[in-house]
Symmetry: C2
Subunit: 397 residues, 2 copies
Amino acid sequence: MLLKNSPAGIENRGSPDEPLRQRLFTPGPTPIPERVQAAMAGTPVYHRGPEFPALLRNAVQGLQEVFPTSYDVFLLSCSGTGVMEAAVANTLCAGDRALVVQAGQFGARWTDLCRAYGVEVVEREFPWGEAVDPQVVAEALRDDPGLRVVFATQSETSTGVLHDVASIGEIVSETGTLLVVDGVSSVAAHPLPLEAWNVDLAVTASQKGLMLPPGMGMAAVGPRVWKAHGRSRLPKFYWDLEGYRRSLAEGRAPATLPVTLMAGLRAALQMLREEGIPQVWERHARHARAVRRSAAALGLTSFARQPSNALTAILLPGGVDGLALMEYMRRERGVVVGGGLGDYRGRMVRVSNLGHVDDAGILEAVSALEIGLRETGWKFEAGAGVKAAQCVLKVSG
Amino acid sequence: MLLKNSPAGIENRGSPDEPLRQRLFTPGPTPIPERVQAAMAGTPVYHRGPEFPALLRNAVQGLQEVFPTSYDVFLLSCSGTGVMEAAVANTLCAGDRALVVQAGQFGARWTDLCRAYGVEVVEREFPWGEAVDPQVVAEALRDDPGLRVVFATQSETSTGVLHDVASIGEIVSETGTLLVVDGVSSVAAHPLPLEAWNVDLAVTASQKGLMLPPGMGMAAVGPRVWKAHGRSRLPKFYWDLEGYRRSLAEGRAPATLPVTLMAGLRAALQMLREEGIPQVWERHARHARAVRRSAAALGLTSFARQPSNALTAILLPGGVDGLALMEYMRRERGVVVGGGLGDYRGRMVRVSNLGHVDDAGILEAVSALEIGLRETGWKFEAGAGVKAAQCVLKVSG
C-alpha cells in the first residue's frame, strides 16, 4: 500500500512513522557521511574569529591533495555554476574570443556563461554520449590563435562521459591560451592534476565527490590566471579572485564563507586521506565498472563511449518509461537516481556512484534498477545485474 | 590553566576532553537551533526530484511571512554580498547613476558593487554611528532625477544603527526611482514590509535572523524590478533573476540550490511561526534593549544613535583593549562577540542578539562582558550590567 509520508505528500513505501530511507545515487547531491554530518552540527565557526584561518588552511591544503595541485585554491559560497562564472569573469574581456569544447548540458553552460558576459564563443560541439576529440582543439587553436581561453569539461554529468583533459592540455600547452576545466563532478572520482595536464584553472563543487551538501564552489588557480586577470575587464566583485586574495593577505575573509560546509569539508577531507586519494579514485573506477557491467548484463546500453567513473548514464530500451522506472525505484526501494536531461528525459537513467558510496550501496542501486526494470516491462534473466556487479566487486564466488 | 583544545590550537578554558562550548553572539553566523540541525542532518533532497518543488514553495511562503511581503522571493546559493550583487546586476546598466545612502561598512558595499559594474554612484555618506537622514535622499533625487536606483541598508551591522527605511521609501515613492534595501541583518529582527514601505527589492541571508548556517541569500522582488531588468544590460547569468524565474516556470531549479539549508529553513520558519513573527520582532527589541541598558549601567556608550534590534555596538573606554576583552570573553567564558570593524578595531564590541537567542543567553553574554571588562581594567559596580538586563527581561524582582 502506498502511503503519503513526506511533508510534501510525496509517496513512498515506508509508513508515516518510519518512512523509507532515501539513498542517493544522484550525481549531486550525493550522500553525506555521518562524520561529516556530525562535523557540521557544531556551533558555526565565526569567520572573523581566531579559529577561521586554520579552518581555511585545512580546506585549501586538503583540496590541493584531492585535485591534486599545488596551486592556490579558493572557496566560494555558490554552486558549481557560480564558480564556473567566476572562471569566466576573472580571465576575459567583453569581445574576447574563447573556445568551448562540449558534448552535453554542462559543457554547454560554458557557452551560456561566456555569452552572458559578451565573450565571443567559438564552439566545438560533439553529440551527447561522445567525448571531445582533442584534435579539434588543436585545429581550432590553429585556425584562430587569438582564442584567449579554452573551456572544457572533465566529467560531463548529463551524459556520463569522461573527456580527455590530459590530451587537451597537452595541445593547449603549445599555445598562449589558458585552459579552464569544469571538474565539478570529476574531482575525487578522477585525478585532475592541474600542473601535469597544463590546466590553468579548475573548478569543483561541494555536493559531489567531496561528500558535502551543496553550497560551496572551489577554484584551483594557476599563475597564468593572474596575468589574465590583470587585463580582464569583465565586471566582478563577488567573483573577483584578486579581491579575494587581497582580503586574505589582509587577514580578512572576503565575504561570509560557508563555515559550516568548511567544517564538514575538514571531516570529509580527513576521510579521503584515511582511505587514500588514489584508493578513492580506484573505488570510483571499480563502482562505475560494476554499474556498467550490470547494465550490460541486463541488456542495456551504457550511453558514454568513454565513461566517467562518477556516474553511468544508461540508455533505456524503447518500451521502458524512464520516469516511471525512476519513480518506482524511489517509491518502492528508496533509491534515487538521476534521469535523462534535455532530449533524453524519460529515456535514460543516470546512476551515480559519486562520493560516499560503498559496495553494498552499489548492489542496492543495481538491485533497485533490476526490480524497477522488471516492473516497467523489461525482460531479462532475474539477478543478472546484481550478479555482474558482485563479480566486479568480488563479493561473491 | 589554559589548555590547547581546538584542532587549530585555539586556547580556551575547557579541558581537551570537554572544550568550553562556544556561544555565538556574533551578528552572523548566529546559533543554530537543534531542530534546524536535525532538519539539516537528513539525506539531501534531490533538486531534480519530486520533493523539491514543495520544499521551495515552503521556503518562499515562509520568507514572505517573515519580511513580510507578497512579492516573489528567490533563494540563491551565496552570501549576503552575493545577493546584493544580484540586486545591482538585475536593475542597472553600465553608466547608469544610482544613489547610495550609507553610514558604515555594509552600506559602503553598495558603492563598491555598483562601481565594480560601471554604475556611476552618487554617494551620501553619514558618519559611522549615525543614521541616514531621509531628507538627504529627497534632496539627492531632486538634484538628479535621473538616478535609477536608491540603495539603502536597514540594519548596519558595522555600527548597530537602524536606518529609517519607511521614511526613505516614502520619499522614493514620489519618484520613478527604485528602492533596494539590504535587510541582511534586519530580517526577522525588524519588519521590512516591502509594499507598505515602497521597497522594490530587499535582500537577506541565511546566517542571521533566520538561524541557519551561512550560504543562502534571498531576494524579495517587486514588479518594478522586472521592468528595470528589461532594460538592464549588466552581464549576468548566475545572478539573473529573470533566468531563474524562467527555469522555475519550466519546472527546473535554476542551478543546484542549497537543499540542505532549505531543509533547515523549513524547520526555522516553523519555529518562527510557532513563536509568532511579531513576537520574534518583539523578542529582538527586548533583548537589544537589555544589552543597551547593561552597557549604560556599566558606564559604556552604545554607539548607535538609532539602534538596531539585531545587535548593540558598544564603544569601549580609552583604557580597555577591545581585542583583549573579546579574547578573554571567548577563552574564559566561551562567549563570542563581534569586534569593531575598520577604524573601530580594538575600540568596540558588537554584541548580537540576532536569531536563536533566549533570555538566558542575553544574561550569559552580559555576564561575560562584565567579567571581561573587569579583567581588562574597567571599573564599575559588580553585577550592574546583569542587574540592568534582568530588569528589562523581568527575570528578577
